[in-house]
C-alpha cells in the first residue's frame, strides 16, 4: 500500500528554469491527491510520468497565483481528454467564484466540479476508508490552509498460524483484531498479545505553505512522519520573511522540532538565493532530519509495524 509524496514544483512566486511553482502529488493506496497547482503542474505530471486523468481530488492552500495558476490548464486538459467524472476541489471559498468567472471565458467543462470549503466541515475536511485530511489555518496575507493527511489507525493483525491452532471463527477474529483476548472452551484466557502482531503504523504527511512562523500549528502536526514546511527566506532576511508573511528555513525547522516530526522537507525557496545550501544548513542546525526538496523528488513512506508496547 503506497504512501508517496512527489514534489512537482519547489519554487516560490517566481519560477526558475529548474523549479516550477508549487505543487505536490500525494498518492495513498493508488489514490491521487494533488496539493496546490502552480503554473505548469500538468506538464510536470507528464514529465514525471503521472497520468493527470487519475486525479479526482485537488487541495488548494490559498489563492495566490504561484499556487493556483496551473489549475486552469489542468482542468481544461482533463476536459479535452474526455473526462466525465467529477473533480473535487478543496480550498478557500474564493476558489469557486474565481473558477466560475474563469469558465465564463474558457468553459464549460464536460464534467462537474464539486467545491469543498473547510468551514463546511467538522474535524476532517476529507475522509475515506484509508485516510483523513484536516485543514488548519495558516498565517499568511490571504486565507490559507495547511493540510494534514493521516492514515486511519489499522486494526491488529492476527498471527496466521493461530487461526487454525485455536480454531478461530470470523466473530472471534473481529474481536481479537479490536484488541480482545480469546477465551478457550475450558475458560482459559489467551491474551491478545500472544495471538496478534502490532498493526501497521498509520503514516502521515503535513503540507504547510505559505505561512509566517506559526507555533499554533504545532499541536495539529504533532509527530507526523513527513512535514513539508515552506522556507522562503534565509535567516538574514527574517524581517523580510515576517513582513511578507513567509517563514525562514530555521523557523520551519523550529516547527518541525517542536512538533517532533520524523522528517522535514523544506521548499518554496525565494529566487534571491542562487543555492539553497545555506537555507538547508540553517534548518539542519535546528532539525537534523531536513531535506531541501527539488522538482521530481519522491518521498515514499514504507509500511512498518508499530513497535510493540513495552509492558
Amino acid at each position: 500500500v503506497s504512501f508517496e509524496v512527489t514534489i512537482l514544483g519547489s519554487s516560490s512566486a517566481l519560477p526558475t528554469s529548474e523549479r516550477f511553482p508549487t505543487a505536490h502529488l500525494l498518492i495513498v493506496n493508488e489514490r491521487f491527491f494533488l496539493i496546490d497547482c502552480g503554473e505548469g503542474t500538468q506538464i510536470q505530471l507528464r514529465r514525471f510520468r503521472f497520468n493527470p486523468a487519475r486525479i479526482s481530488h485537488i487541495f488548494i492552500s490559498h489563492l495566490h497565483g504561484d499556487h493556483v495558476f496551473g489549475l486552469f490548464g489542468l482542468l481544461s486538459s482533463l476536459g479535452l481528454m474526455g473526462r466525465q467524472s467529477e473533480i473535487h476541489l478543496y480550498g478557500p471559498e474564493g476558489l469557486q467564484v474565481l473558477l466560475q468567472d474563469h469558465l465564463k471565458y474558457f468553459g464549460p467543462l464536460p464534467y462537474e466540479i464539486i467545491y469543498h470549503f473547510p468551514d463546511d466541515y467538522g474535524e476532517f475536511f476529507y475522509e475515506d476508508d484509508h485516510i483523513t485530511v484536516k485543514a488548519i489555518p495558516l498565517a499568511h496575507r490571504t486565507t490559507t490552509y495547511g493540510f494534514i493527511f493521516r492514515e486511519k489507525p489499522r486494526m491488529l493483525n492476527i498471527k496466521k498460524e493461530k487461526i487454525g491452532e485455536l480454531g478461530l471463527g470470523i466473530a472471534d477474529m473481529v474481536k481479537i483484531k479490536r484488541g480482545e483476548d480469546f477465551v478457550l472452551p475450558d475458560g482459559k484466557v489467551v491474551p491478545n498479545r500472544a495471538i496478534t502482531l502490532p498493526p501497521y503504523h498509520p503514516r502521515s504527511y503535513a503540507y504547510i505553505s505559505d505561512t509566517r512562523f506559526a507555533p499554533s500549528i504545532v499541536e495539529d502536526i504533532k509527530e507526523v512522519d513527513l512535514l513539508f514546511h515552506e522556507a522562503t527566506f534565509a535567516e538574514e532576511d527574517s524581517r523580510l520573511a515576517a513582513g511578507n508573511w513567509h517563514s525562514t528555513a530555521r523557523q520551519a525547522a523550529e516547527i518541525a522540532s517542536r512538533a517532533n516530526v520524523r522528517q522535514l522537507l523544506i521548499g518554496h525557496f525565494s529566487t534571491r538565493y542562487k543555492h539553497v545550501d545555506m537555507l538547508l544548513k540553517e534548518a539542519v542546525e535546528v532539525f537534523p532530519d531536513t531535506i531541501a526538496v527539488k522538482d521530481g523528488d519522491r518521498f515514499s513512506l514504507p509500511l512498518e509495524r508499530e513497535e510493540e508496547e513495552k509492558v
Copy 2:
C-alpha cells in the same frame, strides 16, 4: 541587426513532457515580441535564457487556453520583478474583459496594460522604426488572428569609397540613398547603380495559428521569409482537422507553396501522433523547405543584400 524566432512551445491543446503549449518569441533589433502565451511560457523563457522583463509587446492570436493560459503567470511575475513600464497587449477584444476579471482576484499589477485590438487599426496593427505588423483574420472556431511581421524597406547603401571620390555632401547622399543619380559639376551623370549597393532585404515572419485551410491568407503572406503555419493533424485525419477548425501538415505546405515563402515551419501538433515524422513527410511532399519545430528551436534570418536587378 537580429531577426530571430524562438519556439517556446510547439504542442497543440494538450502539452506533453517534451512540448509546451504554444508560444513564440520574435526578436527584431533587440526588441522582444512574444506571440501567444501558453501555460509555462515564463518557464520556457527562463529555460532558454531570455529575460522576461525585456518583453513589452505581446500578441495573442485567440482566446483558447493553450495560447493564453501562460499570460496570468507571466504578467504576475513581471509585477513581482518590479516592473513599472507598460505592457502592450495585442489581440482579440475579449482579452481585456478576461484579464480585467482575472485581475479582480490576482491584481492589481504595478504597471499599466495597454490593450490594442485589430479593429482600431488601419493597415498595420503595430509599427515602429524597423517593422510593421499586420493582423489578418484566420478561420478558427473563435475570433483568431495571424500576425505578419515585416521589416520596413531599407534605403540604398552608398559605396564608401564613392563619398570621397565624388565629394558627396549630406544632401547628395540623402538623394542617392533614395535612388537618384548624381550629377557632376560638369553636367556628367553618374548613374545611381554605380555609386550604391543594393539595400538589405527586409526580412519577414508570418505566424498562422490556429486555422482551417484558408487560401484567403495567401495574398497577405506572399513571399515571407519564414512562415509558421499550424499543422495539428495528419492527412488521414483531414476530416477531423476541418471539423475542429485546424489544418493538416499538407494543407500548411499547400499555403506555403501558393504564397511562395522561403521556409515553412510547422507545429501545434496533436498529441495523437507519437512521432511527427509522418506530418513532416506529408508537408515536404508539397513544400520541400519545411521544418517540424520543437521547443527551443531558433530560426535566425541573416541580413542579406537584395539581389541586383537584372538590367
